[in-house]
């Protein structure tokens, strides 16, 4: 079995959105194009389309999140779906209700789509394997594995500013090891044709086999972002210091914090992205986050259109 078997139905239509991996380029482009048509929605007086009318979408978040959950909720409501938010705590032992028990309980209430976030890699995949065939799953982040809608909104944002993917140089900076965002970004960039994908960070934060995913690793920010078109910063979880992955905030910012000074090494028209929430002064200087190259707020806006597009695409497959 591969991701294609589970993500696509037997007619080749996308039915779950769990990972970017193994999704053909055309499908990704189609998601971006559909999102384009939804982008004007935000400006309209009546911001609703009837595509998901009568459908029930459950935001099942086992990990706290404000922005991702909110954008999914807005996206579903703009498509006229009924939305239920469940911020669930999960027992990882057999004593408590298991993940699949929780899901099947809610599924029994005749829901159509789950948007799932969980701290364990593979959770969304596990759920997708066990729900009934008409139920759709969107992965809103599973452990360190994947966060495909984030990657798609990043691709959408890149396309807004850069048009063609093929000739771009893109640097992803920070804690690659623990980042589901970075893994999904690498898959998306690769499928869309970007040849120069770089990951930048100390060896403690770069997974051992990253080259096999199609990225080249850099350990100095200065060389890593040299002449790149896009810099994608990652959030550094502060608890990483306890695991001795980095020695201190000061040293990290000194070496890997994105400052105006260092950004000059990139192309003149470089764009700077961040999935949020940011640690200002740790991975990114405020002057860069709020500066002329930053497209961070555009990412948030685009997040709604992308999630509408993904929801419409996978629900469309059921009709």
């Amino acid at each position: 079995m591969n991701f294609t078997d589970i993500q696509f139905d037997n007619k080749g239509r996308l039915r779950h959105f769990l990972t970017i991996e193994d999704i053909p380029r055309d499908t990704l482009i189609q998601i971006l194009d559909t999102a384009e048509s939804f982008i004007s929605f935000g400006q309209r007086e009546i911001r609703k389309a009837p595509l998901l009318r009568g459908k029930t979408v459950v935001n099942l978040f086992f990990e706290p999140s404000t922005r991702t959950r909110t954008t999914f909720e807005i996206a579903a409501k703009r498509l006229s779906a009924d939305v239920i938010n469940l911020d669930a705590k999960r027992m990882s032992t057999i004593k408590g209700e298991t993940l699949l028990d929780t899901v099947s309980t809610i599924e029994a209430m005749k829901t159509d789509m789950f948007v799932v976030r969980d701290a364990a890699s593979g959770s969304a995949f596990l759920i997708a394997q066990h729900v009934s065939p008409e139920v759709r799953i969107i992965n809103a982040g599973d452990g360190r594995h994947a966060h495909p809608t984030q990657a798609m909104l990043d691709m959408f944002t890149i396309r807004q500013y850069k048009k063609e993917f093929a000739d771009l140089s893109v640097a992803i900076v920070g804690d690659i090891l623990h980042s589901r965002v970075a893994r999904s970004q690498i898959h998306a960039l690769k499928i869309l044709g970007v040849k120069d994908i770089r990951v930048v960070g100390p060896k403690t934060l770069i997974p051992t086999a990253i080259e096999k995913l199609g990225a080249s690793s850099y350990h100095r920010l200065e060389t890593g972002i040299e002449n790149v078109d896009v810099v994608m910063m990652l959030r550094l979880q502060l608890e990483r210091m306890e695991g001795q992955l980095i020695p201190s905030e000061q040293e990290y910012f000194h070496l890997y914090g994105l400052t105006e000074e260092k950004l000059k090494l990139a192309k003149d028209d470089v764009i700077v992205m961040h999935p949020g929430p940011m640690n200002r002064g740790l991975e990114i200087a405020s002057s860069v986050a709020d500066g002329e190259h930053s497209v961070i707020l555009a990412q948030v806006t685009n997040g709604i259109a992308i999630r509408m597009s993904v929801m419409a695409t996978i629900m469309g497959g059921s009709r």
Binding site: M1, N2, F3, I6, E21, S92, I94, T98, L99, L100, D118, A120, S121, G122, S123, F125, L126, H130, D142, G143, R144, H145, A146, H178, R180, R183, P207, T208, A209, I210, K212, L213
Partner: protein, 428 residues
């Protein structure tokens, strides 16, 4: 094992690696022992005659590591359920690690386990005693008393002994009484909460990883202590090529150390984890293809002398969880023979080599009189059909644990009869 019929096993291909026999011949059993090979003794009148033509007759298998889950986890499996699975797999002797609940760290526990095995089980079961009390890595157990209560060795099971001084003392003390120590050598800090090999799959799936160094660092320390204490030691379930090289080097120097490998590590690699397949969640993790190559080579050149099932039966719920939360282990009793002999089909081993690795090899490591077909030896025999195929399914598995990544696979070498102590305990 009550009545002892006279049994004649006729026309089989008898393969007994310990006695270097590979010949078409007959085997005669009476009073629970093998009484003759080849010529039928004068006046022998068999109660039962087994036609073993087209079949292979070999010593009953000795499994160096299998968990019965009893006592403590009877909801998963019991001695009764798992020994039934064992005999279906041709296994007649099982060595159990001490990590039952409670831990086998007193003579009373060791005796209780053997008594239960005697009452409800179908196979011989030899426990290992705990090296330290409660497997906590702090205080030594009464090893001499444990050994005198039937424990064939002492083990730390999967609980690392982090204090190297305690480990050194444990080895010194055990070697005083020639008690072998069975070690799972792992550095717990490097293992951390890892669930897969650190490599491609951990990178791709974003799963917490166990670097190869978790094993090599543990093995390096333990080899240094084995060499200097003179302990007789056995390294359990090596998984990496580098650890094998270190072991081979120590053996060349004359250090008394042996090792085993699990059947699944010989056939699977990290890539079989695929898309979060929790059935491939094992400890130590499945490693790279070059490691699997090194493990197979170590069998060929005799660095590793036993293949074990590392049987760990689970209920379905233990595997229906996100990968990192699922419980490690494979239900392996019934696939041990077929997986081992698959290495013959794949031209890795000769038939004699392969059978030796699941009979005389593990018996020698455990220091027990089993795993051979000598005249006057206890009649523990496995008869299998090298051609007949069988498919692993939930129904075909007798074990309560259906947790195997080999589910739905087709194998050759189906066991047709198992004899323990002269009694037929299983026929297909």
């Amino acid at each position: 094992m009550s009545d002892h019929p006279k049994i004649a096993i006729k026309s089989g291909r008898l393969v007994d690696p310990k006695n270097q026999i590979d010949a078409a011949t007959d085997l005669f059993i009476a009073e629970s022992n093998i009484i003759a090979i080849g010529e039928m003794p004068d006046g022998f009148d068999p109660d039962i005659t087994i036609d073993a033509s087209e079949k292979i007759v070999c010593p009953g298998l000795v499994d160096l590591r299998a968990r019965m889950r009893e006592p403590g986890l009877e909801k998963k499996a019991t001695i009764k359920s798992e020994t039934l699975a064992a005999v279906k797999g041709g296994i007649t002797t099982i060595i159990c690690p001490p990590d039952t609940k409670p831990v086998i760290d007193t003579p009373a526990m060791a005796q209780m386990l053997q008594q239960r095995a005697w009452q409800t089980g179908r196979t011989f079961i030899h426990p290992l005693g705990a090296l330290t009390q409660g497997l906590k890595g702090e205080k030594l157990t009464d090893m001499w008393a444990l050994a005198n209560s039937g424990c064939v060795g002492m083990s730390n099971a999967l609980s690392p002994i982090t204090n190297s001084l305690v480990m050194r003392r444990a080895m010194q003390y055990a070697s005083t009484f020639d008690i072998p120590v069975f070690l799972h050598s792992q550095d717990p800090w490097l293992t951390g909460n890892g669930v897969v090999h650190e490599g491609f799959v951990s990178t791709e799936l974003g799963l917490p990883s166990v670097p190869e160094a978790a094993e090599t660092v543990g093995v390096a320390r333990d080899l240094a202590l084995i060499e200097t204490t003179g302990a007789t030691a056995h390294l359990c379930q090596l998984s990496s090529g580098r650890a094998i090289s270190m072991l081979a080097e120590a053996q060349d120097k004359g250090v008394k150390v042996t090792a085993d490998v699990t059947a699944h590590h010989l056939h699977l690699s990290e890539h079989d984890v695929g898309l979060f397949n929790t059935l491939c969640h094992v400890q130590p993790p499945l490693r790279g293809k070059q490691d699997r190559r090194a493990l197979r080579d170590a069998l060929k050149n005799g660095v590793i002398t036993a293949i074990c099932s590392d049987h760990q039966p689970h209920g379905n719920d233990a595997k229906l969880l996100p990968f990192s939360e699922s419980e490690p282990g494979i239900s392996g009793l019934e696939t041990l023979l077929s997986l081992t002999l698959k290495l013959v089909e794949e031209n890795e081993l000769s038939l004699t080599q392969a059978i030796g690795l699941i009979t005389a090899g593990p018996a020698d490591i455990a220091g027990i009189d089993a795993g051979h077909l000598s005249v006057n030896a206890r009649a523990d025999v496995c008869i299998f059909d090298p051609v007949q195929e069988w498919v692993v399914t939930s129904d075909s598995l007798v074990s309560r644990g259906k947790n195997t990544p080999f589910m739905n696979q087709r194998f050759k070498n189906k066991v047709t009869a198992t004899i323990i102590g002269g009694e037929i305990v299983y026929t297909a």
